[in-house]
Symmetry: C2
Subunit: 263 residues, 2 copies
C-alpha cells in the first residue's frame, strides 16, 4: 500500500511550487492536497477561530486536485487531518515549495513553516520546503529533494515527531554543494518603514528595507544556504528559554520580589 502524504503551502493552492511537489511525490505516494485558497505569506502560526472555514474542491484538467481552504496553512493541516482525509492520517506532511528562503527569524513569520510545526504537534512527521529565489523558480530539483525528505521522514523512527525546515539553493543539482543539518539563525533584520501619503492626504506605511544582519553561528541555516548547500533544521514548538529559566530560578530573591512587590 502506498504511503500517504499531505501537501499544503502558504502561497495558495494555485501556486507552482505546490504543483511541482504534487507531480513529483505522486510518482511514489498517495498524495492529498489541502491548501489555502489565497496567498497567506507571513501569516505566522495564525489559526482561524472567529470565522467559519470553507472548503472548495479544486480541479486541474478536469481531474480532482485538492481542497482549497479559506484559512491559514495551520488551519489546512488541522482540517485535513481531522476532517478531509476521512480518518486516514498522513504518514508525512510536506509544506511548500515556498518561493523564497525561510531562514533565521523569518521562520517565525512563515506560514510554510507553521504548517509543518502544526503537523508536528498534531503528531505527524513533517517538512517545510523553501527555494531560495523569488524570481524565475525552477522547482525541479527542490521537488525531487522533497521526495527524498518524505522518504527520510518515513524511515526515521523518532519517539517524538519533528518538523524539518528545509531550504534549497536556487541552483541546478550539479551546482549544489551538499546538505547540512543546521540551527535556526537568530540574527535579526534591519527593517524600516516607508512613510507615504495617499491621494486623500492620509499617511500610510510599508514595511521595507529588510537587510539581514550577520548570524554569528557558522552552522546556521542562512550561512549554510549561502555556501550553496541545502540546510535542514529540526524545529520544535517549546519556546521556553531554558538558560534564562535557570538564571531566574537560581536567583532566590526574584520570586519573593515579584510576589511581594518589594523591588
Amino acid at each position: 500500500m502506498k504511503k500517504r502524504v499531505l501537501l499544503t503551502n502558504d502561497d495558495g493552492i494555485y501556486a507552482q511550487g505546490l504543483l511541482a511537489l504534487y507531480e513529483t511525490l505522486r510518482e511514489d505516494f498517495e498524495v492529498h492536497v489541502v491548501a489555502p485558497e489565497i496567498e497567506m505569506s507571513a501569516v505566522g502560526h495564525a489559526i482561524t477561530l472567529h470565522n467559519p472555514i470553507r472548503v472548495k474542491e479544486v480541479y486541474r484538467r478536469g481531474k480532482f486536485y485538492g481542497y482549497a481552504v479559506t484559512g491559514t496553512p495551520a488551519d489546512c493541516v488541522k482540517l485535513a487531518t481531522q476532517e478531509l482525509l476521512n480518518g486516514f492520517p498522513p504518514d508525512v506532511v510536506i509544506s511548500g515549495i515556498n518561493l523564497g528562503a525561510n531562514v533565521g527569524v523569518n521562520v517565525l513569520y512563515s506560514g510554510t513553516v507553521s504548517a509543518a510545526t502544526e503537523a508536528a504537534f498534531l503528531g505527524f512527521s513533517s517538512a517545510a520546503i523553501s527555494l531560495d529565489t523569488v524570481t524565475k523558480p525552477d522547482f525541479g530539483f527542490a521537488a525531487k529533494f522533497a521526495k527524498r525528505i518524505a522518504e527520510f521522514l518515513m524511515e526515521l523512527r523518532l519517539v517524538y515527531k519533528i518538523a524539518l525546515n528545509v531550504n534549497i539553493p536556487a541552483l541546478s543539482e550539479e551546482q549544489i554543494e551538499g546538505v547540512e543539518f543546521t540551527t535556526q539563525g537568530t540574527a535579526r533584520f534591519i527593517e524600516r518603514f516607508e512613510k507615504r501619503v495617499d491621494p486623500r492626504g492620509n499617511v500610510y506605511y510599508w514595511l521595507t528595507g529588510e537587510v539581514p544582519m550577520e548570524d554569528p553561528r557558522p552552522d546556521s541555516d542562512g550561512k549554510v544556504l549561502k555556501s550553496k548547500k541545502i540546510s535542514i533544521t529540526p524545529l520544535h514548538f517549546d519556546l521556553t528559554h531554558y538558560p534564562s529559566l535557570k538564571v531566574l530560578r537560581d536567583e532566590k530573591g526574584f520570586l519573593e520580589k515579584l510576589w511581594k512587590g518589594t523591588l
Copy 2:
C-alpha cells in the same frame, strides 16, 4: 526621568485589559500605546507585508490615548519602535492584558505573546500578560502585577533580551498562592471541527471542542496556573530542536542518504 513603557495587545486598542495596563503603569512610567485597531486574536506571529499599514490617533475623554494600527501585534511593535516613538526606544514592552490564558501550545497562536517575542528580538525586554478568564474580568491585580514585571525587567541586566510570558489566575490577590518560573507546556489540544451547512447549502466548519491534554511536567505554565499561582515563562525565538539536531548529526549515514538519494 521616567522610564518609557510601550503597551500593545491583540484584543485591539479599545480593549479593557489594555486600558487597565495604561491606567496603572502611567502612575510611574511614561506610557505609549500602539495597538491593533481591531481584535487580532490567534494571529500568531503574523506581519503585514502585502498591505500598507495605517495609523490613527485615538483619544479618550478628549485626551490623546495612543495609536491604532491596521496591522498585527508584531506590526505594532515594529512600527512603534521604529517610527511612532520618534527615536526614543522603550525601556520595556508590555503586551496585554489578554482575556484568557496563553499557556501550552496556545503560546504559538497567540498575538499577545508574539508582540512580546517580536519586541525581544528587536532588542527590548518584554512581557505578555494574560488573565485566565474570558468572562467578567477584573484586571485590577493583573495590572498591578504587570507593573511589578515592568520594574523587574528594568532591574534585570541580562546580556540578551527576553520575553516573559506571564499568566495570572482570575482570582483576588488574597486567593492567589504565589508565583513560579515555568516551562511552556507542550501537551496539545484535542480539537474537532463542527461541520455546518449555510442557508444556501454550502458546507462550512468551525474549529471547536478544545480539550487540553495533560502536560506531563509539573513545572509547566498550565499546571502552575491551575494551582492558583502566577506562571512566568521566559521565551525565546530559536525554534531549533537541539536534541533532534544531535541525533541527525550523529548518524553519519543520514547526510549521504539525503544527498545521494540512496534511501
